[in-house]
Symmetry: C2
Subunit: 330 residues, 2 copies
Amino acid sequence: MSFPKITIKDVAKKAGVSIATVSRYLNNFPLRKDNKDKVAQAVQELNYRPLLYARRLAGGKLNTFGLILPGYEGIFYSFYALEIIREVAAATSGNAIDLHLNIFWDKDTFQSSLADGVILADIINNQRQLERLVEEAIPLVVVNKKIEDPEVSFVAINNFKGAYEAVEFLIHHGHKQIAHFAGDLRVQCAQERLDGYKSALAKNNLEFKEALVRKTNFSRKETREQLEKLFALPQVPTAIFCCSDEVASEVLSFAEEKRIEVPKKLSLIGFDDNPHCLYGNLMLTTIRQPLKAMVQQGVKILKEIIDGQKTPQRVVLDTELIIRDTVGFI
Amino acid sequence: MSFPKITIKDVAKKAGVSIATVSRYLNNFPLRKDNKDKVAQAVQELNYRPLLYARRLAGGKLNTFGLILPGYEGIFYSFYALEIIREVAAATSGNAIDLHLNIFWDKDTFQSSLADGVILADIINNQRQLERLVEEAIPLVVVNKKIEDPEVSFVAINNFKGAYEAVEFLIHHGHKQIAHFAGDLRVQCAQERLDGYKSALAKNNLEFKEALVRKTNFSRKETREQLEKLFALPQVPTAIFCCSDEVASEVLSFAEEKRIEVPKKLSLIGFDDNPHCLYGNLMLTTIRQPLKAMVQQGVKILKEIIDGQKTPQRVVLDTELIIRDTVGFI
DNA sequence: GTGAAAGCGCTAACAG
DNA sequence: CTGTTAGCGCTTTCAC
């Protein structure tokens, strides 16, 4: 602000070279050793930092990625959102890349000119935004959602398979009355987990019962409400496959309150491998989803796209069943 | 990328006016109606969006705020961090301002040139960064921490008073053995809450006992560990004042498991008024901290600073005791 | 290897 | 009110 901001000119003058030479130094072009040293020293002494937007205007990079999160109600109540932000921040800062965060509430306010590329963390109600960005031909990668229509790169999780394995694991322990606490079904991963649940039942000739599927929207509160209803039913399930560890964790508290023994009377599998949920005397059996790997891959792909490698890549990562304390034979 | 990006020139040509007129239109300067309409239409048809960095270079604004979060271990496990991000995002997007997110891990990587101003959410280990930004004279405001030394604007919470009131509330209910589950004491708010606790005890002639103060670092896991230890003591407290609702919530589960009746045998006060912790049959009595108001004020102040009003403002907001189910007489 | 100079897209005087 | 023009700070030809 109105500060005598030092520019590339000042550095050039101080080092006794042209601004072009300084620019080359900044961009790691080969320089004669003595010049290089002089410039380095001048930069140091003046504590010079190039203005990124000027650089960008002249054809350089901003070294900034955009991160767009769909701001649907609930995303902020999730382990997931922060995890994504953290991992993206970690993955980018390791590459000296800054992050431009944009939350899609209802209007598309993302300024693509402020980023070299964009990471979209799931697409919930911002499909049109995605299309706009594709149209603008800005490098982008979608994370945590498989996208069919615009042909874009994405890195997603095989939620279906993860859920399938979880439920089959329960079945192999002799369970026949298996409930599913589902998430917000407008979110792809929640839908896929439900599908995996259904599919595992079908493959194992178990009847699908509507009453055993409960919508929690990933929230503890709604989980609690559903628990009260579910356990008021004549026939109570012997196992519950939950859409998230937080939901499973709430089931665990409920069970402890009601003195329902886990895993003797009730088996439980979560989803996420959320470290917050690892407390108490029982460790949750769960499906680990490789969020970190997903984000890292996404960032890597985005960098490749920006650097000119343009084939859209579609990656689906597998989950892993983590066996701990909450599943037993019946 | 390498797309025939449309510029202000294209718009000018299409509208049959000069680029200056287009610029004026974009910046809401008075224009003759017919010209205004022509430009508006051209902008519309070409789907033109100005390049923010070019605008900025020419003296305009980026309409972007920086948000710096100190990346100490634990910040990502907190309700707090997401709440701050969400509120900042909400407060800025309401003003058509974008957010440049930077997490301070160990190096100062924040590019001040990519923002018109900066919001620093607490200062944990980035005091030097704060000093650098002050030196660069970039508009900034610190949120959730009272800063003495560089004379900067801040908006903070009166944690001391909040804690004091909580503990006094317990004392007025007849409690004499009051424990405190403290947070990470390197964080100012945790220290202030501890101080408030101590002060309330002292003012009411109650002895301060080291053994009744337990460090949880705001984590459920450590809370659980401390609970085991605390309740193994010969004399058990009749009330616990917790540094956060999450910690209090964990105490609640513990109590339910151990069949310690709340609030009959154990009274409990949290801190935050965290909606995630409102489930189960008991509603937590807590200290509400106005995070939203804090962030909104911070954004407002930052805007004023950017617009030239330069007196540093120091604001401390009061908390509010929310009386619900978890405190009883003894 | 290096310097001079053009120009990225926009805003802000300055005349008219 | 509007058009002309001079930069903003940087990268990138193009000569040397």
